[in-house]
Subunit: 399 residues, 2 copies
């Protein structure tokens, strides 16, 4: 048994660099960028009209000219053209290249066009309505940093600089393993002493949100079978997540099997609730880490969110985001266990406020439906007070 803080640190210490891989732009969403992205040309790459109207040379205005002969028309996608005469104008559309001997765009709303001539009805400001070549970014600038999370905004930038394929961090190969003879499949009618599998589905869907498609298996409470299957699973995965099989029961063979398979126990048992019988280890030979979570649904769910997700973030080169929230009600944590308490989050006038979820212990799966995350409270003699800041681990998308 070790403290929560030590257990958490030991898990993070075994994060892994899984290397990089090339994916297509369409597959890059949500992945972690593994290369710096440089502007391959200026942003914008030319003096770009930002309004529809006419392009003129401001010198003519300064000479008192207010009516301009229209030389032609420039649409977006047309090669650049010069004004033949800088006392004339050219009609120009948003996105088109402004002639290099023009310097000002006047939008249609500020001119009157009659018989091939444009007359100003409002005086322009020199240089207006032109998005200047290189004014956002210069060619060679760093536009996206390595280790960025690729969201829709980053996809746009990657497209603009021509990255049809992108180097991203490789995701770990993960297996999820359920154990326990009492478990039946979702589409079965359980006998009175049986229950349906749920943890493995929870883990599968949680991992799928991280872009990971885990392999799934179920082990009976039978030692030889566990050993054979786990041996192979350890070889082909970077992380194995087990649910159940780690308490002190006669049929909980996992810790013993792990030892026989050369998986070094890092710890077994953490001073926390829920999730106390958590077993964590690493197979030195393969560097595969094993998260063996207690089988109670809330225990597995809490440990996945608190330990595994930060292990994953570190393994992908991401910083760990530490978020504090404000207690809406007092909470008492006595004894020697760090408490992971289920809370509901409210956005209250720019404040993150949490209230405790009514629950019935670590077997109470349904309480997780009302839960937005866990607050992590160390035991202390005085109660945590209303308004106090406490660390928060989200368990669903909240913002």
């Amino acid at each position: 048994m070790i403290s929560f803080k030590d257990a958490y640190q030991k898990v993070l210490d075994l994060s892994q660099d899984l290397g990089n891989e090339l994916v297509s732009l369409e597959q890059a969403m949500g992945r972690i960028l593994a290369e710096d992205i440089i502007a391959d040309r200026n942003f914008p790459p030319f003096n770009r009209a930002t309004k529809d109207g006419i392009a003129i040379n401001y010198d003519a205005i300064e000479k008192g000219q207010t009516t301009f002969k229209i030389e032609g028309i420039l649409a977006a996608g047309m090669p650049s053209q010069l004004l033949k005469n800088t006392a004339n104008c050219i009609e120009i559309m948003t996105g088109a290249v402004v002639p290099s001997n023009a310097d000002t765009v006047v939008m249609y709303e500020h001119i009157v066009i009659d018989d091939g001539w444009a007359s100003l009805i409002k005086n322009p400001v020199q240089g207006q309505d032109i998005h200047l070549n290189g004014s956002d970014q210069k060619k060679g600038n760093l536009v996206l940093e390595k280790n960025s999370i690729i969201s829709a905004a980053e996809i746009g930038v990657l497209a603009a600089v021509g990255k049809a394929s992108v180097l991203v961090r490789t995701l770990p190969k993960v297996a999820i393993v359920s154990t326990g003879n009492e478990l039946v499949e979702v589409d079965e009618i359980p006998l009175p002493h049986q229950i349906r599998k749920s943890n493995i589905h929870t883990l599968y869907s949680a991992l799928s949100q991280e872009g990971i498609v885990p392999s799934k298996l179920h082990l009976p409470d039978e030692k030889d079978s566990i050993k054979n299957t786990l041996g192979n699973t350890l070889k082909v995965n970077n992380a194995v997540l087990l649910s159940g099989g780690v308490s002190k029961g006669k049929f909980d063979f996992i810790p013993q099997v792990m030892e026989e398979l050369g998986v070094e126990k890092i710890f077994h048992g953490v001073f926390q609730r829920p999730g106390k019988p958590f077993w964590f280890g690493i197979q030195k030979e393969t560097k595969t880490v094993v998260f063996s979570f207690p089988g109670n649904p809330v225990s597995t769910f809490a440990n996945y969110n608190v330990y595994f997700k930060d292990w994953l973030k570190l393994s992908l080169g991401l910083p760990l985001q530490k978020i504090d929230v404000i207690l809406k009600e007092a909470a008492e944590v006595k004894g020697d266990l760090t408490m992971l308490l289920r809370v509901k989050l409210g956005f209250n006038r720019g404040h993150l406020v949490v209230s405790l979820v009514k629950e019935n212990g670590s077997g109470d799966l349904c309480s997780l439906v009302n839960t937005d995350g866990f607050i992590v409270l160390e035991p202390k003699s005085e109660p945590y007070e209303v308004g106090e800041l406490v660390p928060f681990v989200p368990t669903r998308d909240l913002l």
Copy 2:
């Protein structure tokens, strides 16, 4: 031209009920539940041991008994058994059914076992370490409400009650359409007057995060071709998102083509920046809505996040989440335009604090990389002050 507030309301007014569809549990993640979910049995369905140890009848303790003959062993997944003699005990594992004539579990840590007898080394409390039949939920209880977002926690509950397939809200069919002769593909080297497509990739990835796989097309700035293609697209989609082609340029045929296709214009032009030339309409016959966004990357991105995402939420039966954030710096909004300002969000001691992103107008795609969302500021004569609460629209996953 209409106000931002009116435009926003008109978009919401045309949200659509797209009906429901059945998906497998594995495909249900992130979807919106379209049925109430009822517990098909009690949670837990039997008196369930929550520790490994022995099950006893507390009467024996009350009679002063401290040593118990072990009758046998009960593992999880074994049918229920009775104590043959309530003065005896039975070894029991976590998850197993507690005999109906036992009422207390004593964990291994609190007993000594010797030659078929278990002796207490700590007095138990009657009823301890049993997760009582139906104590979390009774059969027939509502465990998940219609219109819930299905996250990993909900997946676990759906699995537990045997929902191998789940009724969810149908997602809209969406087409995304780019226009503009200046655009080339991501893997092409643009000529000096050309730029690569980026908006369509941004929209594609943003929609993919909502579980929508949009169809993609590109229209040249040529009227007949636009009309043919759009006509078909309107028939087979619930929403069409266009980028570019709605300003006042000579080659911006979209509004005219829309009219010819029987798409009723709801509005064209909103008193907002960026995204002012936004065109919105509906084809009455098909009920397909058309979001025609201005082509500047920031305009398209802002309007997608501000208008389309809430249209989508309402169409899926979700409530609109209104979040206010705290200004870290003053902001001035004069004139008659509602400003959508790019901001970076910080989690500061339980407070959501935003600072303005340095940017160079609505063409400045790269500024979106530093942007976590937009704040929506109505024009007013006094500046918005430090510490003031303002509405926030996130543009990436933040919590």
